[in-house]
Symmetry: C3
Subunit: 172 residues, 3 copies
């Protein structure tokens, strides 16, 4: 190939190669966008956790846990959605058909979500309000969660949740 | 063109064509970024809703609604910003000039925002604190919103808001 | 170069040039992703501000301020992390070794974060709960922050925070 044509090709090639950098970084950019989406998806699980607890919908509540997700609390320990649902329904009772929540309000807040591939560590805070004698919402508990999350085929799930009461205080 | 040169061009062409895949997906990536931005913009409207209510700034409050946005509540129904502002000012009274809010605090939280093109469905929670006899913030109402949003030329606006009280309970 | 070959190259060049538009916009897209990441990073600072205050960890608390960041409040004014830490420890006292917070709960919420390059203006709300005589969380203060943030080599930091009480009311 004569030099000028080679040069012409090199210019083209140069254009293409120089464009390889943004093209390559498109992959990195997609990863960063995915992290932002993952954070949103995990935040949705934190919120639904409160929604389902208030609704006493222990089936959907338990489905927020991973297949080997561990529930630990005052009622003992259970592993996996089926066992968690069974423990909750045994401990809390199944709601009557047509149950409408009028007394509990979980307020989830201040999520800090660190995603690493298909796992994440998550810190957040909760405040629970319960209806007082006048029918007003009264704060009864305020605390924080430290969670391990895992990405399953169906989405992000809770692998392990540790609950700390702040007011009143309670250790994990 | 001799085969070798054609091959050289084909290699170049191949490079360019192979790069078409990330280039094409850049459009998809831009769409995903736009959804994340839309969620932020919608969240801002939810927050400003509380800000303007507390400030009794019913002009800016009403401007958060779409041109055919519907306000429904204890004072009746109104459609569009002008009618909503008029209803609020008739029902709540216009604040005195220089009014500073010292008694109401809307806390908006737990937005779950599903964007589909130029519309979105949004679920969120609110807690209202009012000043008690000692001048402290006392929770007076806790509930949730279910909203339809629409993208207008000026940005995202509320098309329809349904308010559910949890404590105290009130249906839509 | 014969016209046909020139055309062939032009086609290639055309492909490359036409691809320049998405490539160029990849830079703009990266900027938009960075803004979303910046908003998350700034939100984390707002949340940690409450975490460290509750933990009486004034070293980490002060490190959330920029090197020329200004703290202004009831104890006076201090500039830069070292001076802010010293002022807080003088005013609030250093916590005893092994201190565990059981009485204070800062709830940060409703961040509205406008990023412009390496600076940002931020509005948010806070509610402080303190343990009452029965050991329950009782809201004691509700207000809002207006902040200027700056990007430093180590990340986003508070350059200036103005605190407004809503209930009870207090000006900046």
């Amino acid at each position: 190939m004569p030099p000028t044509r080679f040069l012409a090709l090199a210019v083209l090639l140069g254009l293409t190669v120089s464009s390889a950098s943004p093209i390559a970084s498109a992959g990195a950019l997609a990863d960063r966008v995915r992290v932002l989406e993952d954070q949103q998806a995990i935040r949705a699980v934190l919120i639904q956790y409160g929604d389902y607890l208030d609704a006493q919908d222990y089936g959907h509540y338990a489905a927020l846990f991973a297949k080997d997700g561990v529930w630990t609390g005052g009622y003992g320990t259970a592993t996996g959605p089926a066992a968690i649902q069974a423990l909750m329904e045994k401990s809390m009772g199944k709601p009557a058909p047509g149950f409408i929540n009028r007394t509990k309000f979980h307020l989830m807040a201040t999520e800090q979500i660190a995603v690493t591939g298909d796992t994440a560590t998550v810190r957040s805070r909760f405040t629970v309000f319960t209806a007082d004698a006048d029918g007003r919402p009264a704060p009864s508990r305020a605390g924080r969660y430290v969670d391990a999350f895992v990405r399953e085929p169906g989405g992000w799930r809770i692998k392990r949740r540790t609950t700390y009461g702040i007011i009143p205080y309670s250790g994990p």
